[in-house]
Amino acid sequence: MDFLLFGAFPYVALVMFLVGSIYRYKTGFKYSSLSSQFLETKKLFLSSVPFHVGILVVLLGHLVGFLFPSLFLSIGGESLVTFEIVALSFAFAAIVGLISLFIRRATSERLRMVTSKMDVLIELLLMAQFIIGIWIAVELRWGSTWYASNMTPYLQSIWTLTPDVAAISAMPLLIQLHIIGAFLIVFLIPFTRLVHFLVMPLHYITRPHQIVTWYWDKKKIRDVNTPWTITEPKNN
């Protein structure tokens, strides 16, 4: 059982995430953040902003702990307390945002029209994941330290295709739930609106403001020396 959950399922989730996201991207139309701000804007500010900022920081923390565990291990003493409090407050921001996003959707007639079953499912999953995460942080103290020393090896073992199931079997139930939840969410990403994080518009920063698109090479096609029939028509 443990092998299925911690040895096999992570791979199923990762493969589904990769294949599903790429397939959905290739088929085009359905990649969108599906913003509902157009139908309701007032309540969105105090829910969407804390949720997004919170989840981004928390995810970034998990990623840094995975990539540079020594960084986390070097934190000690008072700065460890400060670090955990800061991290926890972002998690709280996210869960508060998430809950008010949920209430916003549940109470607005218009928003119910643009809410799918998957939206509800993923929102409940994220909520559970955050509650468990916060619970772990409070209950099993100094998570940033043991995450770097105990969890990172497990995640790395998944990465190197030698999943260390035994290490996780010995972990408390809360942590096991958090791991299963995480991979479940990864599994579901291609089927939800979460895909929009994959198309974060970071390229906007470096792109020129204006975009002009030409169907064909505008000079080549009119060149008298190369009749345009030589240029292969691109759309049939």
């Binding site: 969407s48 518009p201 505008k218």
Partner: protein, 515 residues
């Protein structure tokens, strides 16, 4: 010199009768879909009025367009910094209530109603929730100055007018209105393109049409904020933004866009303008007072051999150059200089020009004369031009207070506040009227007609040409559209009728909302 061609438009406002036929033609072809019901890619507004969405011209509210910043310009409410910071919640996004909640009526209730003593009623239902609603607003509820206290009085263009001037405008006897049909301006410096974080919006190089790539749009919704004309719309159902596409499947085939084709008043003109893309940035950043001049300077003379050579070098087709030479737009905007862009101060360099309306300005009422003398003998058609059409140029433009529609108001819309510029256009239009009246009715002397034309620097031949293109022009003269050399390719792949109801053309799968 980087010469490109651009599909440009002129709307002659004196000819617009406010029938909304253009709007209906557009709606039937493009926006008759779920999530698009509230979109009016083409709409007709009554001026003075608040327009659609309500008060769209007031950028203090909507933060659209560009503003000067140092020597350059930046987007007022979007852009790289503001756009990405506000991506989780865009404070400048208009919401559905700024437009109206789309609705229909339960017509079936009328048919299925059982026999009863009272008349059955078709209740209005929301097209978003499907539940019965109280209709609060429609897309043109200020038509013909209806609800003037709520709508016309709140027109953002009244902001520089003194209370007395505003009061004068809305006196019952003086009330005047004109119509403002609007579509996407397909700007040279489009704010929507510049604001799109995903890079889904682009300007087509071949004809300058601005389009949204529906597969790239991720609903970051910055274009809705950035477009100062509020001509990009967010489809709340598909989670993608949409906008007027100048009926590109039609213009590629050399056919006029549906709104223009169906125009009853024949107010619309479409043609090619050659322009120098290198001049765009400088023109868009110029000072307020030079803005319109430097905008119009971007457009090049299609008869100039140097321009023709540069255009050919740039791959502009001969048929396009020929179309540019016959372009009605070039005549209105550059040759005769009687058309102006709408709200040039937004700095997007729009390609839709308006011939300002003369009638609401000219039809000044003089109460005393009206009551004391018979103005129009119904049999002899003797016109006393002193009360309805005062044909003496000096007195009409001498005192702005006498005009029913203050020049300042018109200047706020068409000339970035420059009253001389708009007066110049109106004088030209008046001079042509005087000239034609001399020709047809003959009660104005040849001398007066010649003086009027001389005052506005028009020759008789030009006046005749303006009259011809304004009043008599046939379809081929109003729409000079070169074939896009792509139409055969498109026709080979698909029938345009088969994809009616889809979001644009060329989808392999039916567009449906994402999970």
């Amino acid at each position: 010199m980087d010469v490109r061609s651009q599909m440009s438009m002129v709307f002659h406002l004196d000819k617009c009768l406010g029938c909304h036929t253009c709007t209906v033609a557009c709606k039937n072809i493009w926006t008759d879909r779920k999530g698009a019901e509230y979109m009016w890619w083409n709409n007709v507004e009554t001026k003075p009025g608040t327009g659609y969405p309500t008060k769209w011209e007031d950028q203090e509210i909507y933060k659209g367009g560009w503003e000067k910043s140092g020597s350059g310009i930046e987007l007022r409410g979007a852009g790289k910094r503001k756009g990405l910071l506000n991506i989780f919640h865009n404070p400048n996004l208009p919401v559905i209530d700024d437009y109206y909640e789309p609705f229909t009526y339960k017509y079936l209730d009328l048919i299925e109603s059982p026999l009863q003593d009272v008349q059955p009623v078709a209740r209005p239902v929301s097209l978003i929730t499907g539940k019965p609603i109280d209709i609060k607003m429609g897309p043109n509820w200020d038509d013909d100055l209806s609800g003037t206290p709520d709508f016309a009085r709140k027109d953002p263009n009244l902001k520089n007018l003194s209370p007395a001037e505003q009061e004068a405008m809305f006196q019952l006897e003086k009330m005047a209105l004109y119509y403002l049909p609007r579509i996407c301006n397909h700007c040279l410096n489009p704010a929507c393109v510049a604001s799109c974080p995903s890079g889904a919006i682009y300007k087509r190089g071949e004809d300058g049409v601005v389009l949204i790539d529906q597969t790239k749009c991720r609903a970051w919704r910055m274009c809705v904020t950035a477009c100062p004309y509020k001509k990009t719309y967010y489809n709340w159902s598909t989670g993608k933004s949409e906008k007027c596409l100048l009926c590109f499947p039609r213009i590629e085939a050399g056919i006029a866009p549906a709104c223009m084709h169906s125009c009853v008043g024949r107010i619309r003109y479409l043609g090619v303008m050659l322009y120098d893309a290198d001049m765009i940035e400088k023109a868009a950043s110029s000072d307020d007072k030079d803005l319109i001049n430097s905008h119009l300077n971007i457009y090049l003379d299609p008869h100039d051999p140097k321009v023709i050579a540069a255009a050919k070098a740039n791959g502009v087709a001969d048929s396009t150059i020929a179309a540019a030479q016959a372009s009605p737009i070039y005549k209105f905007v550059k040759e005769w200089k009687i058309a102006l862009p709408l709200h040039a101060e937004f700095r997007t360099l729009p390609n839709l020009f308006y011939v300002p309306p003369l009638l609401p300005v000219m039809a000044s009422v003089s109460e005393q004369e009206k009551s004391s003398t018979p103005q129009l003998n119904p049999i002899a058609k003797n016109w006393d031009d002193k009360w309805l059409y005062d044909t003496s140029l000096d007195s009409i433009f001498g005192t702005i207070d006498d005009l029913r529609m203050p020049l300042k108001y018109m200047a706020n819309m068409f000339s970035a506040g420059n009253e001389d510029l708009i007066a110049d256009k109106l004088k030209k239009l008046m001079a042509i009227r005087i000239y034609r009246r001399h020709k047809t009715v003959g009660d104005i002397s040849a001398e007066k007609s010649a003086t009027a034309l001389r005052n506005v620097n028009l020759t008789e031949a030009q006046a005749e040409a303006i009259y011809n293109l304004t009043s008599l022009a046939k379809f081929e003269e109003r729409f000079v559209i070169p074939a896009a050399h792509r139409e055969q390719a498109i026709e080979m792949i698909e029938s345009t009728a088969d994809v009616k109801g889809s979001t644009g053309f060329g989808f392999l799968a039916k567009p449906a909302r994402g999970l």
